[in-house]
């Protein structure tokens, strides 16, 4: 995650806590990342990295706290370059997320070297000249928040313990105003998990977990996992804007994320059939706020938020299988976007898959 809003939130949070405060409770050494999934930046160059395999979120002080951002970036053959730098073949490279450090303007990539259970998690940054650099995690300040993962039952006696096959994949992560928000999806039970973990992390920061529901038209609701989310300010109130795995786009106030709460998001739009949202950002253009959503099946969707304050939720279906809700336009020219992030006030940065299948990293003017 990834937003102009997060950038703004990070700036707003900065006067409240200095870098020294944020890293004071961190220890120095090598964070034992077993995997790397979604990443997000907080203030002072602090990176939050989701490690699904360890069921943990790591906060890493990158030390990358100032810099001059390049006006634009274009890295062709991104996957080939990553493979070369990591000394392996392209088919062993998986790019799992992209985030821009608001303190320096530098894009970072979360990458797996290898595709099996022994894959190496790797963090890369993209220099202003388009070259890639491995971010050394051998000696950094870091802390971690362990997420609860249903443990195997205790057994009597000394026998072997049952292996726990359950794993919760962290599908998205964001930092906003002193909180890390984490969405997860289990490989066993169909349930939502959205956690709010105050940062700096407490001794073992598990945070607050809430259940998220989605109510469809009529009378039924489902405990829906969140696919991707971002933060947005609506009437001076920070909100979470989330796309569910069952496709609707919903919003709910951040303050509703209280322990044990049951939350039903307000449906803003249904993102349609045979289409899955992959990533989204919020940005300003003039006085208007827009949402940009990358999808697997369509180009980028630009959603207007003009009516978001009035959105009381879609309650009825209009003619022709369409729904009420926020209006959007589809921008077909942004093809194959797999990762999307705010770059600066004028541009977004994307990882795109081209027609022959290779990846590129490009800044794009916001539509």
């Amino acid at each position: 995650m990834h937003t102009a809003a997060a950038l703004l939130a990070a700036l707003l949070a900065a006067p409240l806590a200095t870098g020294a405060d944020l890293t004071a409770s961190m220890s120095e050494g090598k964070p034992d990342l077993k995997s790397i999934g979604p990443i997000a930046f907080g203030p002072e160059g602090i990176l939050f990295a989701a490690d699904s395999k360890s069921a943990a979120v790591f906060a890493i002080a990158t030390g990358d706290t100032k810099g001059v951002q390049a006006d634009s970036l274009k890295v062709e053959n991104l996957d080939e370059k990553i493979a070369a730098l990591l000394g392996t073949s392209v088919e062993q490279i998986l790019v799992s997320d992209l985030a821009v450090n608001p303190a320096s303007g530098t894009p970072y990539l979360a990458v797996s070297r290898g595709r099996g259970p022994d894959a190496n998690p790797v963090l890369l940054k993209v220099n202003g000249d388009g070259s890639l650099a491995l971010v050394s995690l051998d000696k950094v300040k870091f802390s971690l928040a362990a997420l609860p993962n249903a443990p195997a039952d205790k057994v009597v006696g000394q026998g072997r313990r049952r292996k726990n096959a359950r794993l919760e994949s962290i599908t998205d992560i964001a930092y906003t105003n002193g909180d890390v928000i984490v969405a997860g999806l289990s490989n066993e039970e169909f349930a939502s998990s959205l956690r709010r973990i105050p940062f700096p992390f407490k001794e073992i920061g598990k945070g607050t977990s809430v259940e998220i529901f989605h109510g469809a038209h009529g009378k039924l609701e489902t405990r829906s996992p969140v696919r991707t989310f971002t933060t947005i300010t609506i009437e001076n109130e920070p909100h979470l804007l989330a796309a569910y795995t069952c496709t609707p786009l919903v919003q709910f106030p951040l303050k509703s994320l209280k322990s044990g709460a049951k939350i039903r998001g307000t449906t803003l739009a249904e993102l349609g059939n045979r289409n899955r949202p992959l990533d989204m950002i919020v940005y300003q253009q003039g006085k208007q706020t827009f949402i940009l959503i990358a999808n697997n099946a369509r180009g980028i969707m630009k959603v207007t938020t003009k009516d978001i304050t009035e959105a009381k939720g879609i309650s009825k279906r209009v003619e022709g299988g369409k729904t009420e809700g926020l209006s959007y336009q589809t921008i077909e020219s942004w093809k194959g976007v797999e990762q999307l992030n705010g770059y600066n006030s004028e541009s977004a940065i994307v990882v795109q898959r081209g027609d022959p299948g290779g990846l590129s990293l490009t800044t794009m003017p916001l539509p």
């Binding site: 080939e80 000394g87 190496n120 057994v155 469809a216 609701e221 795995t245 249904e270």
Partner: protein
């Protein structure tokens, strides 16, 4: 020590690969002897001097491999950041010197196969929520959905049946993948459900096909393709009800299994994880559990013979059936339901029992 390549005269430096035969993938590069040599501080100058590249790349614009440089006495060393990849060739360059090494290929091992797909039954509810694909060895992530296809009875492909998650829901060992059917098509009242419809139609036949082109963690193809055939049946909107379960109790002094028969098939992974046998006050018995009769029954065999003391089956209410209805809540719930207000007592989380007393011996 194994010298992969050497180029030497007494005064001129030579470049070579060095590795420990016990750990052939952790090879490194040495240049020696070097007189009055100073290691540049800038990373770009270091890589310009001594670098390692995967060969052939066919693209000189690619960066060299990341690693650590060190200078000790008159020897410059480069340790790659990562182990060498089996079967790949690497070339080190120092000025005009070149030295190459090919990392040994992986050891032969039996080909990996699909060992099981659950649910195992031949008839499945049309609002089925997930499949678990089990493999005999660790697999690879990143392209799983390309190798999984759902087909109609005539072989025609069913369009967009799955919730394709880039994360891919594997177990930690990567021997089991969870495939979710698109919940937007299952959930009533949503656009995909109303316009595209459910993935399955009542009474029709389908095949879930796993293609052998899927590579395992060692880079090998699967032994063979795998097909699971089944027929879709009426949707299931009922929650599992433990009070309808039937029990076959074991005899004290034996290691006979406790058998629990459900009124319907349950989710295999959750039934394995969320059912357990306890003994007062708070012990969980050690033993082995297994599912039987197409996941409609669960058996538990204790590690030690049963005692006559009171036991109980511990039932976690997150346990789901095949369509995501759990004991605590249906997949699609009535808005603002209050179970207590509805008057129904919450289901028990413990089913007490005592093993039958051992029969007296008759001479």
């Amino acid at each position: 020590m194994l010298l992969a390549s050497a180029l030497a005269s007494s005064a001129e430096p030579s470049l070579r690969w060095v590795s420990d035969p016990a750990q052939p993938y952790l090879a490194w590069v040495e240049v020696a002897p070097l007189e009055n040599f100073v290691l540049p501080a800038k990373a770009s100058e270091r890589t310009g001097l001594l670098s390692v590249r995967v060969t052939p790349t066919g693209n000189s614009a690619l960066p060299p491999m990341a690693g650590r440089y060190s200078l000790e006495k008159n020897m410059l060393s480069f340790h790659p950041q990562f182990p060498l990849e089996p079967g790949l060739r690497y070339t080190a360059s120092f000025k005009s010197l070149r030295a190459s090494i090919t990392a040994p290929p992986r050891k032969d091992a039996p080909a990996t196969k699909v060992s099981k797909i659950t649910p195992t039954a031949g008839t499945l509810p049309l609002n089925l929520l997930k499949f678990y694909i089990h493999f005999s060895a660790p697999m690879t992530r990143g392209s799983s959905y390309q190798h999984i296809q759902l087909q109609h009875s005539m072989g025609e492909r069913v369009a967009d049946p799955f919730l394709e998650l880039p994360e891919e829901l594997w177990n930690p060992e990567m021997t089991r993948l969870t495939i979710l059917l698109d919940p937007g098509r299952i959930k009533r009242g949503l656009l995909p459900n109303e316009v595209v419809g459910t993935v399955f139609e009542d009474g029709k036949d389908y095949t879930l096909r796993i293609d052998r082109s899927w590579k395992d963690a060692s880079g090998r193809l699967l032994e063979k393709s795998f097909a699971k055939k089944f027929r879709a049946a009426a949707p299931d909107y009922r929650q599992p009800q433990p009070r309808k379960w039937q029990f076959r109790y074991p005899t004290a002094g034996t290691r006979e299994p406790l058998r629990v028969t459900f009124a319907e098939p349950l989710d295999a992974a959750l039934a394995t994880r969320l059912l357990a046998v306890g003994r007062e006050p708070n012990l969980i018995l050690e033993g082995t559990s297994s599912l039987a009769a197409h996941e409609t029954a669960w058996e538990f065999r204790p590690a030690e013979p049963w005692s006559e003391k009171p036991h109980h089956l511990k039932i976690d209410h997150r346990l789901e059936d095949l369509v995501g209805n759990s004991i605590e809540r249906p997949f699609e719930d009535a808005l603002d339901r209050h179970p207590e207000a509805a008057g129904a007592p919450p289901p028990k989380s413990r089913h007490p029992f005592a093993p039958k007393p051992a029969a007296p011996k008759v001479d």
